[in-house]
Point group: C2
Chain length 336, copies 2
Amino acid sequence: MADYKIFELGDVVLQRGATLRGAKLAYKTWGTLNKAKDNVVVMPTWYSGQHQDTEWMIGKGKPLDPSRFFIIVPNMLGNGLSSSPSNTPEPYDRARFPNVTFYDNVVLQHRLVTEVFGIKKIALVTGWSMGAAQTYQWGCLYPEMVERIVPTCGAARCSRHNFVMLEGVKAALTADDAFKNGWYARPPTKGLRAMARVYAGWGFSQTFYREKEYLKLGFSSMEDFLVAFWEGFFIHKDANNLLAMLWTWQNGDISDNPVFKGDFDKALKAIKAPAIVMPGSMDLYFPPEDNEYEVKHMPKAEFRPFKSIYGHFASSALNPVDVVFLKKAIEDVMKR
Amino acid sequence: MADYKIFELGDVVLQRGATLRGAKLAYKTWGTLNKAKDNVVVMPTWYSGQHQDTEWMIGKGKPLDPSRFFIIVPNMLGNGLSSSPSNTPEPYDRARFPNVTFYDNVVLQHRLVTEVFGIKKIALVTGWSMGAAQTYQWGCLYPEMVERIVPTCGAARCSRHNFVMLEGVKAALTADDAFKNGWYARPPTKGLRAMARVYAGWGFSQTFYREKEYLKLGFSSMEDFLVAFWEGFFIHKDANNLLAMLWTWQNGDISDNPVFKGDFDKALKAIKAPAIVMPGSMDLYFPPEDNEYEVKHMPKAEFRPFKSIYGHFASSALNPVDVVFLKKAIEDVMKR
């Protein structure tokens, strides 16, 4: 039994021109929508993540309490549950899956929220990493609807350095001959493992490794961390799905759409909602400097970095201190 | 005509047990050894670099003036000119090339300096990156001989994060089936290009990319920089050579030898020479923190980071301001 629902989107014309026929948006909700429909939280997913990977955020005493909030987690296109290379029928299947933008994702999520639930106001949008990009996108596309945002360890557009970092990830995955330009019969596991090793250096800070924090997380050695955590993280994921989401990420820019026509500052300025923008102080691919720029251009944004050696994973379940810090920020923004 | 000489080392027993029969050390010198033999500079090479790649350092008005110094550049084992997988006869050829340590390299360089030139004092040892590791190794192994050192953008041992970063580089290169565990008939160019893309994100800082500094360097776009600079950098290098040097790097520790028996602090303390230790302030894989630790344990060391967006390439010919900064440091240390 699946623990999520499917919203049938029908035939969707994507921003870059393709039509995704019979498109599907997978989602899960927690808590109860109250009568006033004013207790809604939307939390988009992150690179390769699915709704169940957000569960650490949800529960009594956790950053999002379902006894208070009605929490909707829409799965990003490409993540294997919503329309993706791995589940789309021919002819748009596998390597032929079309390019999807953050704009596409958020427009479809908006349809879910309004058409299925009749929601008019969203109390909070929050998300980590690619989820943060979707959070900014929500904020600028639907400023009258989105009341607060908390993007964590992410950015409103993909920086040039982040783009290059992803080129390395992609090159490692696709260097495996078994990838066969996406038409593999068996998974390109050598490439998936290589990709995992490339990611390992980026995901956590130099200090995390210097202090051997992976031992505190229960791994028996650094190599055990590389195999059990990192290779285990990617090995069962579909390569085309990973590349579809990577394309979305690399081409991410909340202003690259018909509404803002590439005017990045204008898109940031359109985010009228009170915001707490939370980079990881030691995040190697979303460095805080890019968020500082954003916050300057957002009308009601506070810059509040995690002071954490967990790098990009500051906004994850791994480090309890970081979770408390995130919980506090969500409490604070809810008072605004 | 080769522009370098070969020192025939004979049969060399390496630290890890193999015997490299008929081992060769390729080197080049600039300037003239004076009568007192007190104008010697030794500059070991860096990862994948060869003596000709150090020429930007040498010349009138440059950091090392050959009218003043007698400059010896010994090529690191594995770099394709000294004994390497690509030039060693069977049975220690190619994938069977033995493991070589920094200790091995420096002991053999010491033989070159003493046996060929009869040198008793070295005025300065300096090197970048893996050349820095050899510089520290010289300083602690031959403290009565080495009068000054200037290691740049490197470390006295490979940090855990740096090790992981290199795991990603290695995984990308070896993900190419054409690599065939090192027994390739044709170069694994897909893997070499993948490795280059992985390296690209590490080599320069986030700020370098944010400010599009690659345009100032004469590249026509970021993709042009990735292809022309990075892929061009690695594409003609031998994969086994790259992996041999990578092993040396990953296993680098100036105390991991019979002299210091793994006591890292003791090895640092043994570096009696005045030193100026020069990390790049934004170097992503040799962060300054590791050098700060070293400097605390070195009797006469000054910590003097490049303030540069060039990341690991702060100590290269690319940025004229950084070259001037390096030249000044060498002038300063020569007064000590």
